[in-house]
Amino acid sequence: MLSLAQQHCLNHPAREAAAQCPQCRQFFCRECITEHDDRILCAVCLRRLSLSAGARRHPLRALGRAALGLGGLFTAVLFFYWVGQILLSIPASYHDGTLWQSFWSSAQ
């Protein structure tokens, strides 16, 4: 396989290649490539990538996200409700420490 220095641009055969697109593996000159998301891509691959990203957006997606967020909120509320119930079920003498005071005084 020829090295990059020996390749020519796919769109401009008269020009030497400057980079190889990691997506389609074709060689391109400086004018035909661009940087996207820390990667060098050719214009065609970039267009395809942006189209597929747009196509993935489903109308119900926003609803699903909202449901996930609300589900998270419900989970947090449930956790703290249980914490509250546990605290409520513990005797008051334990909460205010008098349980240990009486234990110590009886030990002495």
Binding site: L68, G72, V77, L88, I90, Y94, D96
Partner: protein, 280 residues
């Protein structure tokens, strides 16, 4: 190629030292980001605890209190992610990215959807012991990478990948951090117990604690206060450690650590010495 190959001198204690240095050199507005989220939650939690343990009508408004706590928990987690994002920009030697509505909404959604499960998953993992390190790291990483670009799936994937990756073994890192947290708790507990007595001895100020006697330290609200203060002191360090861990873990692919180092050589930023100091 892993992080230890890239950074032969980078060990567990270097990572913790870097985190301490970063926090100490962090400007006040950056630390304020953490406080904005954490202080309301902790104050509300202490009120909730005291109310549920002593309130006469606590049972009647337990659900309402829990709803408030849930909202404040999510509020705190969102601000933790904002703090982590700002910290990460500082480590990378870049200007902090502006917060657009879209980015803020994405962060809020990620934290709202994923973090609450940690309230159940982390204690459950602690009971079973073995996956605890991974589960705990995963939820810390969700905060550390929460402010980055990417949706729910990407954030989840990055957090999961980085949970088993980074300088030093995960269990040793957590052992060191938890030991430190225990010592801080011990100091806080003793300081809280000694302060009222010192106030009375030195200035003659009588407080509710001195009137209640030494047994007041056995109060569960008192214990909750000491745990809350310990969380406030130690958690920023834990967050910083995990932000650094993710930064170095992701740098294996992105080369961000090298870029930060080069940027630091060109124009030394306040965070640059922290990064350069770790190099062998």
């Amino acid at each position: 190629m892993n992080a230890s190959n890239r950074q032969p001198g980078m060990g567990l204690f270097e990572l913790v030292e870097q985190a301490v240095h970063l926090l100490r050199s962090a400007p006040l507005p950056l630390l304020a980001l953490y406080a904005v989220g954490t202080l309301p939650f902790l104050l509300a939690f202490l009120y909730f605890w005291a109310d549920m343990s002593r309130g006469a009508f606590a049972r009647d408004h337990a659900a309402l209190g829990a709803a408030g706590m849930g909202l404040l928990f999510l509020w705190m987690k969102c601000w933790h992610a904002v703090f982590a994002a700002a910290l990460r920009s500082r480590i990378a030697g870049q200007a902090a990215r502006p917060w657009s509505v879209r980015r803020a909404a994405r962060l809020a959604l990620t934290q709202m959807a994923l973090q609450p499960s940690g309230l159940f998953a982390v204690p459950l993992a602690l009971v079973t012991i073995f996956p605890f390190v991974w589960v705990y790291s995963f939820y810390q990483n969700l905060t550390a990478v929460g402010g980055e670009a990417g949706g729910l799936r990407d954030t989840c994937k990055t957090a999961a990948t980085q949970a088993g990756f980074g300088p030093g073994p995960g269990f040793l890192l957590l052992a060191v951090l938890f030991l430190f947290a225990f010592l801080v708790w011990l100091n806080t507990f003793v300081a809280m117990a000694a302060l009222p007595d010192l106030l009375k001895t030195l200035f003659g100020v009588d407080t509710a604690f001195t009137q209640a006697g030494r047994h007041s330290v056995l109060n569960t609200t008192y214990l909750a206060c000491s745990f809350a203060l310990t969380y406030l002191f130690v958690d920023p360090l834990i967050k910083t450690v995990f932000v650094l861990r993710c930064f170095y873990g992701q740098s294996v692919r992105s080369g961000d650590d090298l870029k930060a180092e080069l940027a630091g050589l060109r124009s030394p930023s306040p965070a640059a010495p922290a990064l350069l100091a770790s190099r062998p």
